[in-house]
C-alpha cells in the first residue's frame, strides 16, 4: 500500500468530501495560502484552486466570528468546516461551541442537524510554546452534544475526518501538529470511513494494556517495543475518539491483560485519563490485577526550549516506568 503523511491524508479527506458534497465548505485563518501553501501546515493545500473562493475562504483573525459563523451556516443547511489554526485558540471559541453549537440540536427539539467540523492543530513537541501547543480535548469531551476526535496516524486521520464531515453532530477534530509531516503510513487509495466511537488495537499484547491518544500512540508503540525486550507483552489501544468513547474495546483488553496504563499529552490532573481510570474502576474492577496508572504532561505551562519540553512531555521512559508500577518484570 502507498504511504503518505498525516497532513497529506487530511488534505485528501478534505478534497474528497468537498468533491462529494457541494454543501461542504471550509473557512479559517490563512487557509488559502498560509505558510504551507494552504494553511500553516499544508492541510488545505490546493483547495482554493480546486473549489474556488466561494467554498474556501480566508477569514479575518476572529475566532469568535469563525466559531459562531459555522453554526449559522450549518443552520441554513450547509456542512461547514471551520479551521481554528492552533488548538490553543479553541479557548476563544468556547462560548460559541459550548453554549450555542453543542446545544443547538437539543434546543431545537432534535429537529435540525448541526454538521460542523472544527479542525485544529494541537499538541506539543515542536518547540512552539504554551500558546501553540496545548491539548484541551478533555474540556470539550465534557460538553454534552460535542464529539471529540483525535487521530494518531495517517489512515485514521483520513477515515475519521471523512466520517466527521458526514456526521450530523458538531465534531472537534484534533490534528496533532507533531505528526503532520513527521508521520507517514499506509493509506488505502479506495474510499473508506472510520466510524466515530470505534477504537482500535494498534498492537496486540497479553500482559498490560496501554491506552493512548494522538501523538502518544506512536510513543506508546515505541515503549511497547522496549517492554517487549524486557519480556512484557504490551497491548496498545487507541480509542481514536474520546467522545464517544469505545468503552467496550478498553474493557475487553483490560479483561485480558489485567493491567492498565493511560497515556495522554495533557496534564494528568483533570485530563481525560481520569475518566478512563474511573470507567475501569466502575466497570472493570474485577479484571484488574494492579493499580491503574496515568502518564501525562507535568502540571506547568508548556516550555519551548527543547530540553525543557522533553522534560515536560511524556516519553518512553515515563511510560515504561508506569508499566513497571502495575506489573513486575525482569530488570526492574
Amino acid at each position: 500500500m502507498r504511504e503518505i503523511t498525516y497532513v497529506e491524508a487530511i488534505n485528501e479527506a478534505l478534497i474528497e468530501e468537498m468533491d462529494r458534497d457541494d454543501g461542504v465548505f471550509i473557512f479559517g485563518e490563512d487557509i488559502v495560502v498560509g505558510y504551507g501553501g494552504g494553511g500553516m501546515f499544508g492541510a488545505t493545500r490546493g483547495l482554493a484552486d480546486r473549489f474556488g473562493p466561494d467554498r474556501v475562504l480566508d477569514t479575518p483573525l476572529s475566532e469568535v466570528a469563525i466559531s459562531g459563523a459555522a453554526l449559522g451556516a450549518a443552520l441554513v443547511g450547509l456542512r461547514p468546516i471551520a479551521e481554528i489554526m492552533f488548538g490553543d485558540f479553541l479557548t476563544i471559541t468556547m462560548d460559541q461551541i459550548v453554549n450555542n453549537v453543542a446545544k443547538m440540536r437539543w434546543v431545537l427539539n432534535d429537529e435540525v442537524d448541526v454538521p460542523i467540523v472544527y479542525r485544529t492543530s494541537y499538541g506539543a513537541g515542536i518547540g512552539a510554546g504554551f500558546h501553540h501547543s496545548q491539548s484541551f480535548e478533555a474540556w470539550f469531551a465534557h460538553v454534552p452534544g460535542l464529539k471529540v476526535v483525535m487521530p494518531s496516524d495517517p489512515a485514521d486521520a483520513k477515515g475519521l475526518l471523512k466520517a466527521s464531515i458526514r456526521d450530523n453532530d458538531p465534531v472537534i477534530f484534533m490534528e496533532h501538529k507533531l505528526l503532520y509531516k513527521r508521520l507517514s503510513g499506509p493509506v488505502p487509495e479506495e474510499e473508506y470511513l472510520i466510524p466515530l466511537g470505534k477504537g482500535e488495537i494498534k498492537r496486540a499484547g497479553e500482559d498490560v494494556t496501554i491506552i493512548a491518544t494522538g501523538a502518544m500512540v506512536r510513543l506508546s508503540l515505541e515503549a511497547a517495543e522496549v517492554l517487549g525486550k524486557k519480556g512484557v507483552s504490551a497491548e496498545v489501544i487507541d480509542p481514536r475518539t474520546i467522545q464517544p468513547l469505545d468503552e467496550e474495546l478498553i474493557l475487553g483488553s483490560v479483561k485480558k491483560t489485567g493491567r492498565a496504563v493511560i497515556v495522554h499529552e495533557a496534564p494528568v490532573f483533570g485530563g481525560f485519563g481520569g475518566e478512563i481510570a474511573a470507567m475501569l474502576a466502575d466497570k472493570g474492577i474485577d479484571y484488574l490485577d494492579g493499580p491503574v496508572k496515568r502518564v501525562g504532561a507535568l502540571f506547568t505551562p508548556i516550555p519551548n526550549w527543547n530540553r525543557m519540553e522533553k522534560y515536560y512531555l511524556p516519553d518512553i521512559e515515563k511510560i515504561v516506568n508506569a508499566v513497571a508500577e502495575v506489573i513486575r518484570f525482569e530488570g526492574r
Binding site: 454543501g23 465548505f25 473557512f27 466561494d54 467554498r55 475562504l57 477569514t59 479575518p60 476572529s62 469568535v64 466570528a65 466559531s67 459562531g68 459563523a69 459555522a70 453554526l71 449559522g72 451556516a73 450549518a74 443552520l75 441554513v76 443547511g77 450547509l78 461547514p80 462560548d95 460559541q96 453554549n99 450555542n100 446545544k103 443547538m104 440540536r105 437539543w106 434546543v107 431545537l108 427539539n109 432534535d110 429537529e111 435540525v112 442537524d113 454534552p144 452534544g145 464529539k147 456526521d167 450530523n168 453532530d169
Partner: protein, 324 residues
Amino acid sequence: MKITVKQLKEMMYWIVLGRKIEEKITLLFKEGRLRGHHHPGIGVEGIHVGCCFGLGAEDYVVPSHRGKLPELMMGVDLKYLMAGYYNRREGLGGGRVPTGSHMYGDMSKHVIPGTGIIGSLIPVAMGAGLGIKVKKAKGVVVAFFGDGAANRGDFHEALNMAAAFRLPVLFVLQNNRYSISVSVEKATGMEHLSVRAAGYGIPGKTVEGCEVLEVYEEATRAIKRAREGKGPTLLECMWHRWTGHSISDADIYRTDKERREGEAKCPVLAFKAKLISEGALTEDEFSEMEKRADDVIEAAVVYSEKECTDPDPSDILRGVYARG
C-alpha cells in the same frame, strides 16, 4: 415608499398583538402561571414590525430575548410559542427550553435561536449570512440585539467579517439606553452606537424606534442593499424599556422622568393616531384588532394550560446527539 392601506392595517395589528402578548405574559408570570425568565418587550413593537414586515420565506431572523414579533411574523404559531413558555411537550422546544427568553427557535420558519449569552448570536447571524452567500441563495438575515450586546467583542468580530465578505445581514441594534441597570452613557463613550458602522466601512443609521414607518423605510433600504450583494447595515433603533430588564427587576436605577419620557413614545398610540389622522384606520377597526389579538392570545393560553401535556423529565435525553 409605497405602502397600501391594507398593509398599514396589517402593521397596526402586529403592533397591537405584540403589545398584548407582552402584557399578558407579564400577568401570567405575576399570577404564578408561568415560571422562568421574562424580559418584557413593551415599547419595542414598532422596531420589530418595521424590520420584519418586508421579509419573505427565504429570509431568516435571530430574535433577541425581548419581544416576540420577529418569530411570529416569520410564521411561528403563537400557540406553539406559548406552549413552549409553559414548558409543555407540544410547545416550541418540547418543554425543555426557556422559551420566550433565549435559545428557542424554529428552523422550519427560519427563526434561529437567540441566546442567553447576550451578543453571542451576532456571529451566528453573520454565519447564516455566510451560508446564504455560499449557497448563492436569495435570503437576508435580520439579527436583533441590544445596546449591551453591542459592547461584546462578538459584535465587533461579526460586523467586521460580515463587512469583509459583504454578507446579507441587517444588524438591528435596539438601543433602549440600558444594559440592565448600566446606561449607555456609563458603558460607552457615545450616545448613538450606529456611528460604529463607520469603523467597519458599512452604512450605519439611527432611527426612532417608535416611528414604525421610519424603521420600515430604513430596514427596507438595508434589506434591498443586502439582497443586491452590497453587504450588511447597522440600524440603530432608539427606544425605551417600559419596565425593568426582567420581571424580577424593580427598576430602581431610572428616574420617573425617564420612565415618563419612555412611555410618551408608544408605538401603539403613535401609529394608531397617525393612521386615524390619515383616514387609514377607524376607532372601530382598532377595537376589532384589539379583540382579535386578545382572542388569539387567550386561545394560546387555553391551549397551553388545558390541551397540552407535560413532558416526561426523561425527554431531556432526546436529541443530545443525532440518532445513530
